[in-house]
Structures are given as C-alpha cells and as structure tokens.
C-alpha cells in the first residue's frame, strides 16, 4: 500500500524506520513517530468510525486528546483495548486496530439507517415515546437501544498488564511543555526548585513544534529542544512525556497518568503499562495551552472536515497531507498558517475568511504566496458522504445574517478555525472561579483557590512574546519564594507575526429551505437544532441543555463543543455567555484507564491478608479457611471426603467428648497499663471492675454511647496496674481507637496506656473434658487442679522451655484453657499441644465447630451483637451495673429499650428435631398469614447440636422472655421452608454453666 498523502520530506517522524500495521484487517505502512491517525491519513484513510446516534461516517477532527471521532478497538500484547483514540495512539510494528460502532463494517453500516430517519430522533425523543405498551420499554425498546450504543467491546479476560503508582512531591508542577511550560520550568529550575514538567504528547514543545517563530536566534522548535535537553540534565527536574495531568484535587494534589508502554508492541515483563502519579506540589503552573474551536456549518461532521491546527500538525510533525485540494475556513489568522504550510508543500489551498477584510502580516504573506483568499465567505455545507468531495460556499453579509448565491467548489478537506479556547480544566477543578474574556470569546482562569497559576494560551495570551515574558517571570518568582534563591535569566528576543483581530462569527446560517445538520458535539450527534429544541421546550439552564441533548457528554467531554454550545444558548436566550455560565469541569480532564487508577492491589492482593503464626500448620493439615475481617482462620479441617457439616460436627463432638484445640490468635488483645487502669475499665465496661483480683479474668461488655453493644471479651488482671484485654476479632481495631478516644479526649486525667498486643501472642484454646489432662502434661510443674487454676484464673507457665500465659476462660462452654506464647513460638506450642494431646484424642477445630459449641451454650457473638442490640436483648442483664456509670449507660433507659415486650435472645428447636433452621429465617405466629406477615424476630445463628444430635438455633424475638415454651414457625421463604418450632431457653446445653467450672 503506498502512502499517497505522505510528503517526501519534512516532519519529525523517523523516515528510516518503516512500520507496518493493520486497520480493519488491511495492512498499511507508516513510520516510527507516527500516530495511528497520521499513518492512516497518510494512506488516504479518512473513514474511521460511525457516530453514536445516527451512525454517520466519522473521520479525524483533531490530532490529540480533543479528538471526538477517531475511536478504535485495539489489539495489543494479545489483549483487547477498547476505545483508543487513534490520534493519541503511537504507531508500533504490528499494531492492529479496527473501527467500532458499525456493523457489518465501517464502510457499510446498517445502523446508518438512523441517519435517514434522523428527523424522528431529535434531542430527547426517547422521553416522549416508547411508553406503550408498558412492558415494551424494558422488554423490546431498551434492548435495541442498548445494543446500538457503546463503542468498543470489552474482553472479560483478566488484564495481564502491570499498572503502578507513585507518590511524588515537588516545588513546582508544570502541566504542558509548550512555550509557557518550558519557560517557567526553566526559570524555576535555575533557582534550584524541584520541578516536574509533564507533557501529554510524546514530543515536547507544544505549539513551538508547529509555529513559525524565532526565539533568540533559533527556530521555536530548536529552542524547545535545547531547553528540554537542559532540563533533562538537571538533577532537580523531572521531565515526563506521554504524561497527562488529569486531575487537580484538594491541598494541591494532582494526579498524572504516565503511559509507559502503550506505544510499544508489548510491555516488558516488570515494566508497567502505565503509572499513576499522585503529585503534591507547592505551586502548580498550568500551561496546558488551548484548543481550536470548530466553525459550525452544514454537515460539518463529514470526514475531511478537520481543525486547521490539526491539519497543520499533520503536515509539520508527520509530513502528511489531510487533503490535496484543501479549503481553509477561518474567522481568524490561524487558518492562514495552515494555508501557507499547504502552499509551501506545493498544494493550492483556498481560504474562506469570514471577516470582511484583514491585513495582518500573515495575510500579507499569504497574498504574496498567491493564495486564493475569499473574504466575507463562508462554507454553507460540506458535500460528500464518507469524505468531503466539495463544499457549497457563499458570500455573507456584513451583519452575518444573510447569505448570497451558493457556489460549489471542489475540495477534499475543509480545515476550520474558529479561534482558540483556553484549556482551563485544571484551574477550574482546583476551585478557580473562571471569568469570561470578551476579546477571545472564552473563559480564562480568574481568582486562584489553591496554589495555581495559569500561563500562556491557557490564560488567553496568544502572543509568544508575552507568553515567554510572563512565564519566565512567574517561574522565577514562584520558585524564588520556595528556594530563596534567584538565578534570573534574561528572556530571549522573539520574532513572531502580529495577528489581526478574529471575527466573533462562528455559526453559518442555513440557506432558505435547507435543513442541513450543523453539528456541535460530533460524537454524540448534537446539532444546532437539538439545542434550539431543548431551549424551546424550557430546558434553559446550561445544565438542562447538556443533560437533555447530551452535549459535551461524549468521551471527549466537550473539548471542542462546549463553548459553541454556550454561544448558541446565549444567542437564543439573548444573554451574554458569562450569564449562561459553563458546566462544571470535573476530573479527569481526559479518560484514564481504570487499571491505572487501581494499580497493583488486584486479584489475591486486592486487600491485605492477616495470618496467624500457625497458619502454615493449618494449611498443611487441610484446613479450609474463612475470612474473618482480613484474617484468614481455619473454618474446619477436612478429613478425607468430609464436607463442612460433617467435619465441623466431628470437631465439635470431639470437644464435647474429648478435647480440641482452636487457633485464637486473631482475637484482639490490648495491653493496658497504668495506675488508673481499673478505674478506666470500670468506665468502659458495663459491669464492675474495681475489685478484680490479680491473677483473675472477668467477662465484660462494652457499649457505644447510644447504648448498643459494641464488643465483648475477657480482661485479665496480670498485676496491680497491668491488664490484658481481649476483644472479638472483628472489633479489635475499633475497640483500641475507642479506648484511645476516651483516654486522650474525654478523660485525659487518667494515667493509662493502651497498646495492641494482638500480634505479640499466638493463642490456642484447649477445650473439652480432657483439656486439663492435656494442660497438665504441657505444664508438668503447674498446679492445674480446679483449686490451683480455677475458672477465670490466670497463671504463667513454662511450656517445654517457652514462656506461656494460661487463662482459664471458655467460649465453648467446656472446661477450657487459652494458652498464649510469644508469636515466634506459636507453631512450636501448637505442635506440642497436638503431640501431647494425641493420647487424649485431641483434634484441631475451626470456626464452624466453635460456632456450634457457643450456639448450643447460648453464648452470644457477632450475629447477635450486630450493632442493633442492647445488653438486655442478649440476656446480659446481669452484667449491667446499676450502681456505677459507664459509657452508653444513659441511653439504656429509652422507651423502646425498656419496653416490657422488648426483644430477647432465645433458643429455637424444630418440633421434628430433624429440620435445620436456616440462619436468617424469621419466627412468625402464622405461617399462612397474608403478606406482610408480622415477624416476631429472626434466627441469628444455627447449628447442629452435638450434645443432643438435633438442630438448634438462637433467635432474637419480640417479648422473648415470655415466649419460651411457645410453638411457632420459622420461615425461610428464600429456601421454601416453613418449620414448626418450639421456643426454648438460649442456654441449651449445661444451662447452669457447670462444665466450665468443673
């Protein structure tokens, strides 16, 4: 395939390196340094895709991030990449891309039928129809609309690329490497400031790469490359290309996405595809330049209609002609630069200037070059379907209201220039209240909210001389304040052409009887008539207009359409633009890959995992793990082909009959020291703590201030002023913060230190009638008799050379001990317990068996203490001190909390003693009552009682105290279950608690 539109020389591409690539299955050639867009244009390809609503042919409109059309589907590194802008994608060997939003192909697209029916699809048409018959919206119309929408196709395969993050700090962050960015960066760097200079494109220099200016005695391009190479060599400067600063957040934090590998055929193994930089900058310089505005005329979306600056960029950077018979349609001098560039390369352009006459330097130059210039001329409509073939042009009256006879001129592209819109997005995101600048018909930044300064054309300054002067000065001033150094450099002299005033005209009137579509938002197919319709219907706020018509809501976020939309609204409403105001600019400035935002916290590492020192023993012994917060705990240990139910029953039964051991390392542990510790505990817990003897433990419940149970656990008095508190696994972190809150803010007079010691200790609960035998053998020197180590007693011991702490506490309701050793010894302890316990038939048990054991004992846990229950609900009345005050006490006298029929925890047994009651079932009186069926309460926890070999559940039900003995129903409609049940005491096994004291 030959490149018919590539010039023989010129451009910044590497002509020594040819690159082959495929578009829509067809092979093409380009050069290193091309974008996919420039390479396609070089090959004469202008039809890239179809528009959103009408499926009209779409080509290229820009040359960068503002591109509204050229969205393709890529295949890179054996992976699918949807929605890639061809204007941003650099060419690499073997690149494969195809068109989107068209079927069967971009040349012949069935969806284009919409275009012929377009009169039935004005803005918001769907709000007015598709309402009959009722079910048809969801069943018929919507599926069709859904199918037609969307661009690329996502693969459901996992993304194999690496995305990394980096947090960086600097004195000055400068966004954009055009003249203002380079000058300010250079000045600041000279003062020793730490500077980050970010450039979205692959090449540095911005407008200097394509403008005909002289700085010092160099061309703009040479000067920019000299400055960049100097900056790169300075240790205090980070210079990044392919890096878009897309968000300006609070406290001067900005976020930048760096495309590290997107321009390469594949990513190196350990190199990220993209890196997201979180940058905290002391000062920010926004030098993001400006974007050319389109002129609006009939069928101005036809492929071949292109921004004049883009046409110039394709010529000067890529050596590519967007057409060979160009029409330049402009309301200002910029169009002439493009025209002259064509002319220099042997192509004769026609310039249509909307102005009556103008005689600036550049127009003179164009005249001298014999360029055909038609003043007071406009394009009425582009002709051609998949590519511009000609244009209807005409003379326009001075007041721009009347057009004269239509002439048709042959052309293959129309380069439009409607003057320039400053890129103020970042300033606006930072909170800057923007202001409208009449001279340029656009908004520029005004009062800074954060530490931000906007320079150059982003600030509405379009002469290079002023840009460089202010930028050198600002760069110097801002950095001087930070570094206290000044190494001022003199501003080079500039030679540039003086421009004449632009024409405020931007939208060509329709000729009589013609109804050409004049597009504002090219991707979303929003036309002038759509906006007018919205306004006629009363959608008059700019936000209403945007939402009703979808103006500016496409993937380009209105970079080329918003301001023209505003013009139209203000014309129609007879207001001036600043009164209409613009819609809010929000990050991101341009779309950012979600993979990059997330970074490396994916897959198994999407959240950290906590493991006990015995974790690897559990793993080796067939433990099946369960998440407890971010901890992993053994749920059960699988023997052979056992399932969860069988294994947990075996484990629980073994605890009841022999002895079991459970890893309780995950329980929160808080080391409490200080002279006021007892007083503090007395305030924190609902029960009394002042008289707990040294060497004894006590069970405690703590509340939130609203009276709801926060957590429970045992606390042991290790010595006079030293306590060891345990919390539930789930609440450990919250409890520590809660304690610190009261110690630091509420009762600073208390001298108490709290510190988490969860990780210091590995814990094993040894439970079951034979646990004392195991303990005796583990600690031969210790008196483990009921007298020597009574229930709720605490001793220290020596476990085969390792210091151990032994607490006689029980969650299972059996005779039980918790042994703690320092974590490095955890595995050693565990293996010793297993070894010693062998003769007593010891088995490890997991959380499922633990649940069974606690449920049949009626011990409340997380499923009852669910953030909605008070102590009374959980039959913890005995633990609520009447005598002293404590956190949350004052809330317990609320009407609902002291109501005689207040809910309470009870036991539930199925009448048939066979049918398990699913957790989450509800207790009702009448299983057949009509809905809504009044509920008495819910089943909070269920188990298979190993003691009685039948199902048993806990439930929290209304008037629970008086319900015992009643025969009711447990209902789980989700599982189609209605189970006749009897309400019993929640203490199903050993109601007097004799075993723990045995």
């Amino acid at each position: 395939m030959s490149e018919n539109f590539r010039l023989d020389k010129g451009g910044l591409i590497n002509r020594n390196k040819k690159i082959s690539f495929k578009f829509n299955g067809k092979k093409y050639l380009g050069y290193e340094g091309d974008t996919l867009a420039s390479a396609l244009i070089a090959n004469g390809v202008h039809l890239v895709g179809r528009s959103f609503k009408y499926h009209r042919p779409r080509g290229f409109f820009g040359a960068g991030v503002d591109e509204p059309y050229a969205i393709v589907q890529m295949n890179r590194n054996n992976q699918v990449d949807p929605n890639v802008k061809a204007t941003e994608q650099e060419l690499f060997e073997g690149l494969e891309a195809k068109s989107v939003n068209c079927w069967p192909n971009v040349d012949f697209d069935i969806g284009a039928i919409n275009n012929f029916l377009n009169k039935f699809f004005p803005a918001g048409f769907y709000y007015k129809t598709f309402m009959w018959p009722k079910s048809f919206w969801h069943k018929v119309y919507e599926p069709i609309i859904r199918k037609a929408a969307g661009f690329g196709t996502a693969s459901i395969k996992h993304d194999k690329e690496r995305y990394e993050h980096k947090y960086e700090y600097c004195d000055l962050l400068i966004t954009g490497s055009g003249p203002s960015g380079l000058a300010s960066a250079y000045a600041a760097a000279q003062n020793g400031a730490k500077v980050i200079l970010a450039e979205d494109k692959s090449r540095f220099g911005g407008s200097l790469l394509t403008s005909e200016v002289t700085i010092g005695n160099q061309s703009g391009q040479e000067w920019s490359q000299k400055i960049i190479s100097e900056l790169k060599s300075m240790p205090n400067v980070i210079v990044k290309n392919r890096s878009q600063v897309f968000g300006y957040y609070d406290h001067n934090m900005l976020v930048m996405s760096e495309r590290i590998s997107d321009h390469l055929p594949k990513s190196e193994k350990y190199t990220p595809k993209q890196r997201l930089w979180y940058i905290r900058a002391k000062e920010v310089i926004i030098s993001s330049g400006s974007i050319e505005r389109p002129l609006v005329f009939g069928n101005n979306d036809t492929p071949g209609v292109i921004l004049s600056s883009a046409a110039k960029e394709y010529l000067k950077i890529y050596g590519v002609l967007v057409g060979k018979k160009p029409l330049v349609f402009t309301n200002n001098d910029s169009g002439y630069e493009t025209a002259i560039e064509f002319k220099k390369n042997g192509i004769d352009p026609i310039v249509l200037d909307t102005r009556k006459d103008s005689n600036s330097e550049i127009i003179k130059e164009a005249k001298d070059l014999n360029i055909n210039i038609k003043f007071s001329y406009v394009v009425v409509t582009a002709k051609g379907y998949k590519k511009v073939k000609s244009a209807d042009i005409t003379k326009i009256s001075d007041d721009k209201k009347n057009i004269s006879t239509i002439e048709n001129v042959n052309c293959d592209c129309i380069c439009v220039s409607g003057f320039w819109t400053p890129t103020i997005h970042l300033a606006s995101q930072s909170g800057n209240k923007t202001k409208f600048k009449e001279e340029i018909d656009a908004f520029i930044p005004s009062q800074s909210k954060q530490k931000e300064t906007t320079l150059g054309s982003a600030n509405g300054i379009f002469t290079l001389e002023e840009t460089l002067n202010t930028s050198f000065e600002k760069g110097n001033d801002l950095s001087k304040q930070i570094t206290n150094k000044e190494n001022k450099i003199s501003v080079p002299t500039v030679v540039e052409k003086k421009y004449s005033k632009h024409d405020k005209f931007w939208c060509v009137p329709l000729p009589k009887g013609k109804n050409y579509k004049r597009f504002l938002d090219f991707q979303n197919d929003v036309t002038v008539s759509d906006i007018q319709l919205a306004l006629r219907e009363g959608y008059r706020s700019i936000e209403h207009v945007k939402r009703y018509t979808t103006l500016g809501m496409a993937t380009d976020q209105g970079k080329t359409s918003n301001l023209n939309g505003l013009q139209l609204v203000s014309d129609f409403e007879n207001k001036v633009v600043p009164q209409v105001g613009h819609t809010t600019f929000r990050p991101p400035y341009t779309s950012v890959s979600i993979g990059a935002i997330v970074g490396r916290e994916i897959g198994i590492h999407s959240k950290p995992t906590r493991k006990s020192p015995m974790h690897h023993w559990h793993e080796k012994n067939n433990a099946v793990f369960v998440d407890a917060g971010v901890w992993l705990r053994p749920r059960y240990y699988k023997h052979g082909s056992e399932n969860l139910f069988e294994a947990s029953k075996r484990e629980a039964k073994n605890v009841r009959q022999n002895v079991g051991v459970c890893d309780v390392t995950t329980l929160g542990k808080i080391d409490i020291k200080g002279p006021d510790s007892a007083e503090f505990l007395n305030r924190v817990y609902t029960n009394a703590w002042l008289k707990l003897p040294v060497g004894k433990a006590r069970y405690g419940v703590m509340l939130r201030e609203d009276g709801i149970v926060m957590d429970d656990g045992t606390t042991t008095r290790i010595s006079e002023n030293h306590y060891h508190m345990t919390t539930t696994t789930a609440q450990a972190a919250n409890v520590l913060s809660h304690l610190e809150y009261y110690l630091q803010l509420v009762w600073p007079e208390l001298n108490v230190n709290v510190v988490s010691s969860t990780e210091q200790w590995a814990g094993a609960a040894i439970a079951g009638p034979k646990s004392r035998d195991v303990l005796q053998k583990l600690f031969p020197d210790l008196d483990v008799t009921n007298e020597g180590l009574p229930f709720m007693g605490y001793r220290e011991g020596n476990l085969f050379g390792v210091n151990a702490k032994i607490y006689r506490i029980s969650f299972s309701g059996e005779l039980a001990y918790e042994v703690n050793v320092e974590s490095d010894n955890g595995n050693y302890m565990w293996e010793k317990i297993m070894e010693i316990g062998k003769e007593f038939n010891i088995q490890p048990y997991g959380t499922e068996a633990l649940s069974t054991l606690r449920i049949e004992m009626g011990h409340v846990a997380g499923s009852e203490l669910d953030g909605r229950t008070i102590p009374y609900d959980n039959s913890l009345d005995g633990l609520v001190s009447k005598k002293k005050d404590f956190i949350g006490k004052r809330s317990l006298n609320k009407t609902a909390y002291v109501a005689p029929d207040r809910q309470k925890v009870v036991g539930v047994v199925p009448l048939d003693k066979k049918t398990s009651i699913p957790e989450g079932s509800y207790i009702v009186r009448d299983a057949k009552a009509k809905l809504p069926n009044p509920k008495l309460g819910h089943v909070s926890a269920s188990c298979w009682s190993v003691e009685y070999d039948n199902p048993f559940s806990l439930a929290i039900i209304k008037d629970g105290k008086n319900m015992i003995g009643q025969k009711l129903f447990a209902m789980s409609p989700l599982k189609n279950k209605i189970i006749p049940v009897e309400i019993v005491s929640s203490h199903y096994v050993d109601p007097k608690g004799e075993r723990v004291r045995s």
Binding site: E164, H165, K166, Y167, E168, Y169, K194, E268, K269, Y270, T271, P272, Y278, R280, R600, E601, H605, K607, P608, T609, R610, K611, S612, P613, H615, H616, W631, T665, T666, D671, K673, G674, P675, N721, H722, P748, E749, N751, V752, N753, V755, S756, S757, T758, E759, Q760, W761, G801, V802, E822, S823, D824, N825, G826, N827, Y828
Partner: protein
C-alpha cells in the same frame, strides 16, 4: 529450633525481577530481620520525671518527631508524644529498661514478637517506598523514622543509612506476608536480590 519468624514462609533467597544484565551489587537487597528486642516505652501524662536523664544502652530518649537516637545495637524511634519504640539487638536490655523506667511513670511493653521486619538497601529504596506510601520521602534522612501506611498496611520506616539508602520496615506481624509481597512486587521493576 522453636522460633519461626514472621516472614519465614515467604522470604526466599535469590534474584528476582529486572535483574538480568545488571551488576548484582547495584540491585536492591531485601532481607528479613529477626530476633530483635522491640519495646514500647510510654510516659504517663501526669508523670513529672524527666526522661532525658534516664540512660538506656547509653542512649537518652528524645521527644521529637522523626527522631531516632541510636548506637550500633540499639535504635530508639520516636513513636508519638512521649512514646518510643526501642529496637535492639541486645535482647537482654528489657530487664534494665523495666528497672530504669518505673511503672508508676512509664508503661514498658515488650512487643518483640508483634512485628515483621523487612530491610531493603540500594539506590532505589525511596522509589520503592514511593510506590505505596504517600509520605514525602524526599525529606526522610538518615536516622529518621516515621509511621505511615503502604498499600493500606500500617508500617514503620526506620532509615538506617543513606549511602546507599537502607531502611527497615516494620509491619504488624500478621500483615507481614502481605507487606512483604507488596514491597517485593514494587522492587521487581528495579530487580532485587533477596538475602
């Protein structure tokens, strides 16, 4: 052997990541540090004792953010107001600390087993840290320490040396393997040698 350290199961020796065609000496070095004494010392709010006069392994406490007072064996990290974390190779120091810091004025808590410790050394150490922690590491100098978080895991950074950079990272022991994974993963781009 009874002791099993926090990272025993995950820390494997070898060369990893982008190490090919690079001088092994210039690679990052990653190791697990074990068997240190770690003690939290906190002075109670009402205590009037002047902690500056108390000697620990010839070191004096300093109530100043970032500060690490140190000698060859022992480093005392500022952990908060009148709150320090003493880290020492001298395991027997605990006894003298408990004696010198009376329990009426100080809470002394042995946390030796509560941390997993990773040491990394090399030119790119700060780059590795910047991947997961928003702290401004440009200001962290030799004998500075901070508490912060790395990819959501609370950790302590103790900067031991700066030519090349050498830091010790402490995480709660149960998070050790997750932090190790995160740090090792962040090192892959530069290549690292696991010692």
């Amino acid at each position: 052997m009874t002791l099993i350290s926090a990272l025993n199961h995950i820390h494997k020796k070898g060369l990893f990541g982008n190490h090919e065609n690079k001088n092994e000496e210039n690679l990052l070095k990653v190791s697990e540090i074990k068997n240190l004494l770690i003690v939290q010392i906190v002075q109670y709010k009402s205590s009037t004792i002047s902690f500056e006069n108390i000697d620990i392994d010839s070191l004096k406490l300093k109530n100043e953010p970032l500060s690490v007072v140190n000698n060859n064996d022992t480093r005392i990290l500022w952990n908060g107001p009148k709150n320090w974390l003493l880290v020492s190779a001298k395991k027997n120091l605990l006894k003298s600390i408990s004696e010198n810091f009376k329990e009426t004025d100080f809470a002394v808590t042995d946390l030796s087993h509560s941390r997993a410790i990773i040491e990394i050394e090399g030119q790119d150490v700060k780059e590795v840290l910047k991947k997961g922690c928003p702290f401004n590491f440009d200001i962290l100098e030799k004998n500075n320490s901070i508490n912060s978080t790395y990819n959501g895991i609370a950790f302590t950074v103790d900067m031991i040396d700066n030519n090349p950079d050498k830091v010790r990272l402490f995480a709660l022991r149960s998070f050790g393997e997750s932090l190790y994974h995160s740090i090792a993963d962040a090192c892959l781009e530069y290549g690292y040698k696991s010692l």
